[in-house]
Symmetry: C2
Subunit: 353 residues, 2 copies
């Protein structure tokens, strides 16, 4: 698969093979910081963009062209799965995603439909195919899905939350109900990622954005086993799997053993510590503070160098932010980031040889 790619350094880094320089892409790179994205967005709301393959494909391709990243990631949202299960999803300006009727009673859970990926999420697969054709092998295409715990958190809270009291109460009061939901979600996510790989995704990332709100023990009970099950289901399909368990650095050792190829590291964790914990078992992705892109140009370079230094010899390292790029980020700084990663990692390789 990677043989047909002009730029396959991301895939090589996922497999911890040496690369001439460090690959770089940016979480949420198809996003609001890009004027070209805003232009599309001004014509269609967020969910319409997700559900219209041509629009999703268009914004997916933008950062490859404009920012020069080493991969495209399909424009979509992790909440398309709960939506496919029958939940009513809205995006409210300034408030983010909201489920009108969050899951609270047992009957709410029972109403959820099993997901038929082809029927319910065909629009994502279609968008992947369009992008794949357009890319014509220039860079690899990344697919993604939310982790069961994070999806469940949104479905039960109804929206992003500060304290997540609803899902945690449920975790204590009706753990079996929660487990039932996590089971269903694991199946849906594994099906969805398999279909994305079949539709052309060459790498997939699982986003456990809310991993960090759990105690280490609860993470290992209510999140890790479900991510593991998904990874085990899809890992033989030939596409490397990246797991981003945000702020769950306490469990890197465990995460390194579930069969994933790459762990994505938040900026709040030390990349060197992470390297020690995973002990060469997986590649690492990350982990510049997204706020570093508000720094002056030469300070961004320093920050890039600092991350590259922590990544050691650079083998098995994918440069990325420690979380999604912020909407207020100046485009020229995102460009500078990519430029500096390429330049500085190439310099480092040259010095090492």
């Amino acid at each position: 698969m990677s043989k047909n790619l002009k730029n396959n350094i991301l895939l090589k880094a996922c497999r911890r093979e040496p690369t001439p320089r460090t690959p770089v892409w940016i979480m949420r790179q198809a996003g609001r910081y890009l004027p070209e994205y805003q232009k599309v967005r001004s014509r269609a709301d967020f969910l319409t963009m997700c559900r219209t393959p041509e629009l999703a494909a268009e914004v997916t391709l933008q950062p490859v062209e404009i920012i020069g990243v080493d991969a495209a990631i399909i424009f979509s949202d992790i909440l398309v799965i709960p939506q496919a299960m029958g939940m009513n999803l809205n995006f409210v300006e300034g408030r983010g995603p909201i489920f009108e009727t969050p899951l609270r009673m047992e009957k709410d859970f029972n109403k959820l439909r099993p997901v038929s990926v082809e029927e319910d999420l065909g629009y994502v697969l279609k968008a992947l195919q369009l992008v794949k054709n357009e890319l014509a092998g220039s860079v690899p295409l990344i697919g993604f899905a939310g982790a069961p715990w994070t999806l469940a958190a949104y479905m039960i809270e109804g929206h992003g939350s500060k304290n997540f009291t609803e899902i945690k109460s449920l975790m204590y009061k009706a753990p079996d109900l929660l487990r039932g939901l996590l089971d269903k979600l694991s199946i849906a996510v594994a099906d969805f990622l398999s279909a994305q790989i079949k539709a052309g995704a060459q790498v997939v990332q699982i986003f456990d954005s809310w991993a960090g709100i759990l105690t280490p023990e609860d993470f290992r009970t209510f999140s890790l086993p479900y991510i593991t099950r998904i990874v085990q289901t899809i890992k033989t399909m030939g596409a490397p799997v990246i797991v981003f368990a945000r702020n769950a650095g306490h469990s890197f050792e465990a995460l390194a053993g579930i069969g994933a190829d790459v762990l994505s590291v938040s900026w709040t964790e030390d990349l060197q510590d992470a390297k020690k914990m995973v002990n060469g078992k997986v590649a690492l992705q990350g982990n510049l503070d997204p706020c570093a892109l508000f720094a002056p140009r030469e300070e961004i370079r320093k920050q890039v160098i600092s991350v590259l230094e922590k990544a050691g010899n650079g083998v098995g390292h994918i440069f990325n932010l420690g979380h999604g790029i912020l909407p207020e980020t100046p485009v020229e700084n995102a460009k500078a980031l990519v430029e500096f990663v390429k330049e500085e990692s190439e310099n480092r390789k040259a010095r090492q040889e």
Copy 2:
């Protein structure tokens, strides 16, 4: 000092001396979950309560009586220091504290007044004296202040924030301006804590609530040195110092060496990992997930036992939540927590002997 106390187990635990059972108190124990607090609050707004020694004293004493905790912590707010420096502070229902004019330009920083604790914060000292008299040696009294980094974050953002882009931008663009502010805050906090100790506080806690938004390196640059300076200034005064650097578990090893007596551990960190990192140099406080207080009664007991088990032999352990108690917490569950900690830690001691 501790000799005159009827219940001095908190002080002993701070000094890692054996105690007959594990001491317990709750962050924000004088707070909205208590109907008795709500009653006072219905007559006065939050800031009036802080600034009226009689009201502050009244609610400070409530949880000692009602919940049975092993310490009182003075009712106040970390933002009284920025207010004393001349910033206009408001508490908006549902939005939390807001500074009308956050620090943005150099001139905003220059306008800040040095704090005269007696003049500007005398009301806190008065409240401490009132509480101390009322307690009559029943349990120790805890004073507190915010850490410079966390105070600066509020002062520059203007309110709690999701991404903290303002203070981080400043950190990159004008680090010396930020350092100047952190210097000023360090002096004010050290003065304030010294005065609190003189007014009767037998323990003090420094809250670095936003420590966790920094990269480990930035924490060691923009927060840790200032906390260190404060601890070094006050540590000879005879009152143990607790440092709560929330979500900064990456730096526990460093934090254990700054001269503080106790580190407070968030629920998102593993207490056993923390124990290893601090290697017997300091006592540990924490770290039950505040959401565990939404669990059924017997599940709370299990959670308490789990924390006690992680604390090992219990020497040098203060039971607490990993963050403040949530306003929606049922009072009977807070009572159950305290009851279970007392009962179960006593049982464990008995079994060990």
